[in-house]
């Protein structure tokens, strides 16, 4: 039983979905920032995206067992016309981020 639980914990850890938070400059217009979401959603590792102009934040939930490299993130935001000032991988879920932002 202990081996089963340990294996389960190991597998769930390896396959856990991740959250990436990016500090972005230039986020002042929601109409223009649509390109960020569209660009990030094209990445097969992206599960969901949250954007906050108030917090200059772009957060990405990645699918279980996947990640997006910093270089890919930088390119995606540059292609959308914005500057990335910081990338952090966090323990917060996207739901928690949404709740803290009051976003949908």
């Amino acid at each position: 039983m202990k081996i089963f639980l340990a294996t389960l914990a190991l597998l769930s850890g390896a396959a856990a979905a991740g959250t990436i938070e990016m500090k972005v400059h230039g986020l002042v217009c929601a109409f223009c920032a649509q390109g960020i979401e569209k660009t990030l959603r094209k990445n097969p590792a992206t599960d969901d995206v949250v954007i906050s102009l108030e917090h200059k934040l772009v957060a990405i939930g990645t699918k279980a067992g996947t990640d997006i490299t910093d270089a890919e993130l930088q390119k995606a935001l540059t292609d959308a016309g914005y500057d990335v000032k910081g990338i952090t991988r966090t323990e917060r879920s996207l739901a928690e981020i949404r709740a803290s932002l009051g976003a949908k």
Binding site: A30, F31, S52, K56, Y82, A103
Partner: protein, 214 residues
């Protein structure tokens, strides 16, 4: 005329400058714009952006001058984002464009026409300013449309909320199309990929624009 130039000069000096609708949305994005300019001009534009810093597409412009319908222009155009500044709380852009097409005018049809222009904008979540100049030239006519927009938002919108702006627009036509500066007050709303603005000029004519990105 001189006062309008003065207002434009002041706006440029007071802000890093401005734009209304951006001719480039984002990489692999398409922008469709339709504008009715106070019974003086109507314009439709469609642009596709392969990259975030340039787009290409086509437009149709009709001008109703002092003597009725004066000219119709169909053009192909390329837009280039020459410079963008992204700061924590603001964004500013410089766009330039150029193109060519065909035109018909009171003086003749089947004309080859040329188009060049530029736009500068500066915006925060509460303040907006833009200045744009758009030149069309053929063997039969030359005109330029200069547009200044200054806007203020009563509240700071966010990504998922409706944005509301109150905008004052000043527009000057050269080439004998319109006498004096056309001033208008506009209500601008946008949410998601849809943008609409409408208002009236000081002589009560409708000024409206709609834009869609996809």
């Amino acid at each position: 005329m001189n006062s309008f130039r003065g207002v434009i000069a002041c706006a440029v000096m007071l802000s890093p400058a401005a734009l209304s609708a951006k001719p480039i949305a984002y990489a692999q994005g398409t922008t469709v714009m339709v504008e009715h300019g106070a019974d003086t001009m109507n314009e439709v534009q469609v642009f596709y952006a392969p990259r975030y810093d340039w787009s290409f597409g086509a437009g149709y412009l009709e001008i109703d001058g002092l003597a009725g319908r004066e000219r119709e222009i169909v053009y192909a155009r390329a837009n280039y984002l020459a410079k963008r500044w992204n700061s924590e709380d603001a964004q500013a852009n410089v766009f330039i464009w150029g193109g060519a097409g065909g035109a018909s005018a009171n003086q003749g049809s089947g004309l080859t026409s040329w188009n060049a222009g530029g736009q500068v904008d500066y915006e925060t979540r509460r303040v907006y300013s833009s200045i744009k100049t758009d030149l069309h030239r053929s063997s039969a006519f030359t005109h330029r449309i200069d547009t200044l927009q200054l806007g203020i938002a009563p509240y700071e919108h966010d990504y998922d909320t409706l944005a509301t702006w109150l905008v004052v627009q000043g527009r000057n036509y050269t080439g004998g199309i319109h006498e004096g500066v056309e001033w208008a007050v506009l209500l601008r709303l946008f949410k998601g990929s849809a943008w609409i603005e409408a208002g009236a000029t000081t002589d009560g004519k409708l000024q409206a624009m709609a834009m869609l990105n996809f």
